[in-house]
């Protein structure tokens, strides 16, 4: 039949098909342009989260970890605090009248989240499988390692994990921390106190001989007393992934925090000054050995936001 079709007939059929298809595509484009985005938006997630409509956001931070979270001249300062401020501003809470920092100790972080005392915890909170059963984590926003801080009087004698096992030395750490579990695994007897700060005070008073904790926390005390202490690099096997703690019943808020951490990560990757990098350079940067970069946050949801159309290059 195709052979018998004249050129004009063929042309006419082609035109008909082309016109019909163009109309169809035009209609499809018209319908498509009126549709809502498939992906959830940041605003939708905000409305789902428990903080929606809340006038003030409460964030749990440490108040006794120099460089990470401490109070200086009545203000909360530190790397964790800066990260908390960035997340809060992204969630719509900017300025002191919208944001309340609640001081939480290491062991109180989980109960504070569970009890609704705080909406988020940004306080050197290591992501572990055990904790994931109790709270949700967004992040990591920092990868650190476990180290040991020794007073200068012991800097030549405490060099290895073996030295820590020596019953002569009294090793201090904070309760409910991942360090406590790691030291136990390495058969190091520890004296457990409430906060790392108590250990440092104890060492200065001569009650303890070394304190083990995250490198970030120890760097803070080293910054405070640069002539009295030294950080000893020990081969503890694990790396600590610091995350933002979120109540386990609020997956929307977790997604939002993860989304904004990832946004900062993407900015840093493209060479811009990311909020993370600014926070790092202002606090930890000068005191840590080796260059650090923001780690890629895990389980980042795909969300739509107002600035998605902005040029990426």
């Amino acid at each position: 039949m195709g052979v018998s079709l004249s050129s004009s007939r063929w042309r006419s059929v082609a035109t008909t098909a082309a016109v019909a298809l163009t109309l169809l595509l035009g209609a499809a484009a018209g319908c498509d342009s009126q549709q809502e985005p498939d992906l959830p938006s940041v605003q939708e997630k905000l409305r789902e989260s428990h903080i929606w409509g809340q006038p003030v956001l409460r964030i749990g931070v440490a108040d006794d970890e120099p460089l990470m979270g401490e109070i200086r001249d009545g203000d909360h300062v530190g790397f964790d605090v800066e990260i908390a401020r960035y997340i809060a501003a992204s969630l719509g809470y900017e300025g002191e009248h919208r944001l309340e920092f609640v001081a939480v100790s290491t062991e109180d972080r989980i109960p504070a989240l569970q009890g609704g005392v705080v909406d988020l915890v940004v306080s050197s909170f290591s992501i572990t499988e055990e904790r994931k059963k109790l709270v949700s984590f967004a992040g990591p926003y920092f990868v650190t390692t476990q180290e040991v801080l020794v007073p200068t009087r012991h800097k030549d004698t405490i060099r290895t994990i073996e030295d820590l096992r020596n019953p002569k030395y009294r090793i201090c750490t904070s309760g409910g921390s991942t360090t406590e579990a790691e030291l136990e695994k390495n058969q190091v007897r520890t004296l457990v106190v409430k906060d790392v700060w108590d250990c440092v005070k104890g060492i200065r008073a001569g009650n303890y001989d070394a304190v083990s904790s995250d490198e970030t926390i120890l760097a803070g005390f080293l910054a405070r007393y640069p002539t009295e202490f030294e950080i000893v690099d020990m081969p503890f096997g694990t790396s600590e992934l610091l995350g933002v703690g979120v109540p386990i019943g609020d997956p929307a808020l977790r997604d939002l925090v993860a989304y904004f951490l990832d946004k900062s990560y993407q900015q840093g990757r493209s060479g811009e000054a990311s909020p993370w990098l600014t926070a790092y350079n202002r606090t930890l940067g000068p005191w840590l050995r080796g260059e650090k970069r923001q780690p890629q946050p895990l389980d980042v949801p795909r969300l739509v936001d107002f600035d998605d159309k902005a040029p990426q290059r």
């Binding site: 006419s12 016109v19 595509l25 499809a28 009126q34 992906l39 739509v304 902005a310 040029p311």
Partner: protein, 375 residues
């Protein structure tokens, strides 16, 4: 325009009822052409001599109705929009009327409605071109065909140019078949030799696809078939879209498509009418002396006017607030949720849902910060 000479003059019978454009011209416009000339129908003089005069008069009336529409439609739309913006409240509408200048209103209207306007014009001219090419097979010439014939070519080109800069990039390829249909451009126009013609077409299409490869790959990965089809298929359709249609197709096509365009116009006009006239802001308000946190309030809405005493804010949820200016602590401009994109696709870093104008604008001001107060 190029399509007109082929079919326009050979059909005096088409003069029957006046084109509906003229009915749209009903409100007496303040134009130099006397209103009385609009009234008589051209059926009265079907002689050959009257034919050319009739064409002249038809063009004059078309021009008159065109300018009436250009001035009148935005004005009417803008007033309707003010009513909707005011939440249907008479007093609020009057407040807006008193404070929103006509120039601002028109500029605001054109900003938000340019896309709709160019879409309708392109649809009318493209369909008009198709119907005009095969209109002689019908007893009565379709409306769009007549409109297309009496419209000057420059206006049709201007409509396509407006669409080019205001349509989202994703839909721009559709302009190719629309343009070919409006001007009835066939590939034969490219070159007289078929081999050269094929070479030009294949080369052009290959270059076009090469430009789009990263975008198409992303769309494929994200499982979005529609963008792929919208980007790849329309240029091919442009090759075949010009030419007369069979009688059995054109007969149902003419009324159905014309009705569809009008229905779509109404359907698409509704969101445009309800688009705000004034920019969305969040104003932080608090007592002048107060320093405590609880004293501040954030008002989400549109600032109608500000004078020495008060800032008048039309709240987003409804109602008007008069805020003493000394209580205003801060104000930020916010995006609205209608601006959220649907796709995560870019064509060489231009978002597919941005128009050329918007894309270029984002090049000039690349950083976009959503203020915390807008959340």
């Amino acid at each position: 325009m190029s399509a007109a000479p082929a079919t326009a003059s050979d059909d005096p019978g088409a003069d029957g009822p006046p084109p509906p454009v003229l009915r749209a011209a009903a409100p007496p416009p303040a134009l130099p052409i006397p209103a009385g000339r609009v009234e008589p129908t051209p059926v009265a003089l079907p002689t050959e001599a009257a034919g050319s005069w009739d064409q002249v008069e038809r063009r004059a009336r078309a021009s008159q109705s065109f300018w009436t529409a250009v001035v009148g439609v935005p004005a009417i739309f803008s007033v309707l929009r003010l009513g909707i913006e005011a939440g249907g409240e008479l007093q609020t509408t009057l407040l807006l009327v008193a404070n929103v200048g006509p120039v601002n209103l028109l500029a605001g209207f054109l900003t938000t409605a340019a896309r709709l306007l160019s879409t309708v014009l392109v649809a009318v001219f493209a369909l008009g071109g198709v119907l005009a090419a095969s209109g002689h097979r019908l007893a009565r010439r379709p409306l769009f065909a007549r409109w297309t014939e009496i419209t000057p070519g420059w206006f049709v080109v201007a409509s396509f140019l407006m669409a080019l800069v205001t349509w989202p990039l994703l839909y721009l390829p559709l302009l190719l078949p629309a343009f070919a249909a409006a001007f009835q451009l066939r590939p034969e126009r490219l070159h007289e030799r078929a081999a050269v013609r094929a070479l030009i077409i294949v080369g052009g299409y290959a270059g076009y696809l090469w430009l789009l490869v990263p975008t198409l790959r992303d769309a494929w990965r994200q499982g979005e078939p529609l963008p792929i089809v919208l980007l790849v298929v329309p240029p091919l359709l442009a090759l075949f879209v010009a030419g007369p249609l069979p009688r059995m197709v054109i007969q149902p096509l003419a009324p159905v498509t014309q009705l569809a365009v009008l229905v779509v116009l109404v359907w698409a006009a509704l969101p445009v009418i309800s688009t705000p006239v004034l920019p969305l802001t969040v104003t932080t308000v608090g007592e002048p002396g107060a320093t405590s946190a609880g004293a501040a309030e954030e008002i989400r809405g549109h600032v109608v006017t500000t004078d020495d005493v008060n800032m008048v804010i039309l709240e987003q949820r409804g109602g008007v607030r008069y805020v003493p200016v000394d209580q205003v602590r801060g104000q930020v401009l916010c995006p609205s949720e209608e601006e959220l994109p649907r796709y995560r696709l870019r064509i060489h870093d231009f978002h597919v849902e941005d128009s050329l104008l918007e894309g270029l604008g984002r090049r000039v001001r690349p950083v976009h910060r959503v203020d915390a107060a807008c959340r």
